[in-house]
């Protein structure tokens, strides 16, 4: 068949296009970093980059979980509250004198459990993810204030070590253990998405749930799994946050779900599902982190200008990303 050879030629030309959004994001990120270096003294310190990772490790982990959910075409609004709830639960259990290992296990179970329940509600009762996870968000935040109205400090030795241990080079540059954990999560997630059945089912369900069902794929199981994974990532994120702040506070991570969704979407994952990469999400988180670092380094903006400039930088970033994307289309 003569026609098919041509098809082949055309498809080959198309191949790298799938990576274009991610590449564009990477380039823009580097440009933004370059601007920072040229504008602000001390921006070029390696530690600045490390700090972006240290300060956004928990965000990254949560965003990875959200990537799974968004890839199936869903959304999880509960992540910020689950992060806070996990930190609160850990802090309050530690305060009551439970051993660190037990606390870790308990804290890491709550998030996935909630995620699992939400996934079940979404799948079995066919309720829209938005409303289910919004209820989950109220619930988790409610648990936070229910546990304690005020913040609870953590003095546990294990937590303190995890928090203050610096892993670094002789120049004094360092990262925290949380960063390593975040990287581990990223790699595990990327591997899961690329190389396991679950991962491929996630893309299929996001591409077309009805087709996936007719193809005999476990649509329900996949849906429930992604919300459970997101819950697990939120729980890990919560633990990292409690390492980060050594406390549990009822109002921490308010509105984090939006940051997370923004990071995932900036990273090139499409909100309707079916396309995107964990690596893109990493870039999305970094983009948000660098924007924030730029603003702190500037140090001349008042509160409202801070917001306006964040919005402006976000806009510039997304616009350029989009334009680069179109150019190569």
């Amino acid at each position: 068949m003569s026609s098919t050879s041509l098809t082949l030629g055309r498809a080959k030309l198309r191949l790298p296009r799938r990576q274009v959004p991610v590449l564009a994001t990477l380039v823009l990120l580097l440009v933004m970093y370059g601007i920072g270096v040229s504008q602000y003294r001390a921006f070029s310190n390696a530690q600045v980059v490390f700090n972006v990772f240290i300060d956004n490790g928990f965000l990254l982990v949560v965003a990875v979980g959200m990537t799974f959910v968004i890839l199936t075409g869903g959304i999880d609004l509960s992540v910020g509250s689950v992060v806070a709830m996990t930190a609160m639960v850990s802090a309050s259990l530690l305060q009551q004198g439970l051993p660190a290992q037990v606390v870790l296990v308990v804290a890491l179970l709550i998030g996935p459990l909630l995620g699992f329940l939400m996934g079940c509600a979404i799948h079995f009762f066919e309720i829209q993810p938005f409303i289910v996870t919004l209820a989950g968000m109220f619930f988790a935040r409610g648990m936070c204030t229910f546990i304690s109205g005020s913040s609870i400090p953590i003095t546990d030795g294990f937590w303190t070590t995890m928090s203050q241990q610096r892993i670094g080079d002789p120049q004094g540059n360092f990262v925290s253990i949380s960063v390593l954990i975040a990287f581990a999560v990223v790699i595990a997630a990327a591997w899961t998405l690329a190389y396991t059945r679950l991962g491929r089912n996630v893309y299929a369900v996001g591409g077309n749930p009805q087709s996936a069902l007719l193809m005999g794929l476990p649509v329900g199981r996949t849906r429930i799994a992604v919300y459970t994974i997101s819950g697990l990532c939120s729980a890990i994120g919560g633990i990292l946050l409690s390492f980060y702040t050594l406390s549990g506070a009822p109002l921490i991570a308010v509105g984090m779900e939006l940051d997370v969704i923004a990071a995932v979407v900036i990273g090139g994952t499409v909100l309707t599902g079916g396309s995107g990469y964990v690596f893109g999400t990493v870039l999305g988180v970094l983009a948000l982190g660098v924007i924030q670092t730029l603003i702190t380094f500037d140090g001349s903006l008042n509160s409202w200008w801070t917001r306006i400039v964040i919005g402006g930088l976000l806009f510039a970033f997304i616009l350029l990303q989009r334009l680069v994307g179109i150019r190569y289309k």
Binding site: S163, Q164, A249, G255, T296, S303, W304, T306, R307
Partner: protein, 303 residues
């Protein structure tokens, strides 16, 4: 100033990195303005960062200040706990830290130089004590409703605590309802509307800030009651609109929480930079206002 340590300060100026909570209220904005103005007046270069009410953002800001090698770091902690790690990094970088407005709960007091600011518990207590004094002679029960700040926030927790402690002195004083009005006028009004409908007899309103009190005023008026007379109103903060209401006789008492700690902060920043010894706790000069005092003070209120 000395140029030997200040690497970011190019012309020998002291560089102060300040991380503000946000701009969530008029009070906070006045606080920011005070700090900016007095920094300029004192010849200190200010690196200002707005954390948008998020602790994570404040920690990030402090890390970046350390990278920029500012001379002094100051910040108003969003919450009390969770600062040890980053404060340790600041200490390792030999940058003195000053807390404003609110303290942190670190066991290691060497992590910061000093804390300058108001004491929320004390404000609540002052409000409560005034009420106890007023209702000394009351024979029957006095019904109090409370408008709390944002649930889980430190001022709300502390003011509630201080007020409860003080009013415990008189068993006649009973808090019959307590809800969160989120520190906003709209919130205060909406909650007060329901309080008024659910409780036929309300004698006292205690609001955790002026704004909620101002919102509640409208609800009280709409219910056909006279604020300040039928219902005694006590609030905290003393922003301009609140003071006006107090002077007009609509409020009965305000415990001040002054945002104007800029000059004191600059003073401390200089001392800290020069390595001078400073007291570990410095209270801002604050007072309380009755209606008459408000009338007198109102003409020269700055915020």
């Amino acid at each position: 100033g000395n140029s030997d340590t200040g690497d970011a300060g190019n012309d020998g100026k002291i560089v102060l990195g300040f991380s503000q909570v946000g701009a969530e209220s008029g009070w906070r904005t006045a606080n920011t303005t005070s700090i900016k103005e007095s920094a300029a007046a004192a010849g200190i270069e200010l690196k200002f960062d707005d954390a948008q009410q998020k602790q994570e953002n404040q920690i990030k800001a402090i890390r970046n200040f350390i990278q920029q090698k500012v001379d002094v770091i100051a910040f108003s902690p969003v919450v009390e706990s969770g600062w040890d790690t980053v404060l340790k990094e600041a200490k390792d970088a030999d940058i003195p830290v000053i807390l404003t407005d609110r303290s942190v709960d670190s066991a290691d007091k060497s992590l910061y130089k000093t804390f300058i600011g108001s004491d929320f518990v004390k404000e609540g207590r002052l409000a409560g004590e005034w009420l106890v004094e007023q209702k000394k002679g009351a024979s029957g029960p006095v019904n109090i409703v409370e408008l709390q700040g944002t649930t889980g926030s430190a001022p709300a927790n502390d003011r509630k605590k201080g007020f409860a402690e003080a009013t415990a002195a008189n068993p006649n004083l009973k808090i019959i309802a307590s809800q969160s009005g989120d520190f906003t006028r709209a919130g205060g009004k909406q909650v007060m509307e329901q309080f008024l409908k659910a409780n036929p007899k309300i004698d006292v309103l205690f609001a955790h800030n002026d704004d909620m009190g101002l919102g509640a005023l409208e609800a009280i008026t709409a219910a056909g009651k006279v604020p300040g007379k039928d219902i005694t109103i006590i609030t905290i903060d003393a922003v301009k609109d609140g003071m006006q209401a107090l002077a007009d006789g609509k409020f009965n008492f305000i415990a001040e929480c002054s945002p104007l700690l800029g000059p004191q902060l600059m003073d401390l920043a200089k001392k800290a930079h020069d390595g001078e010894q400073v007291a570990p706790r410095i209270e801002t000069e604050e007072t309380t206002f009755t209606q008459d005092q408000a009338k007198a003070a109102l003409p020269n209120r700055k915020y």
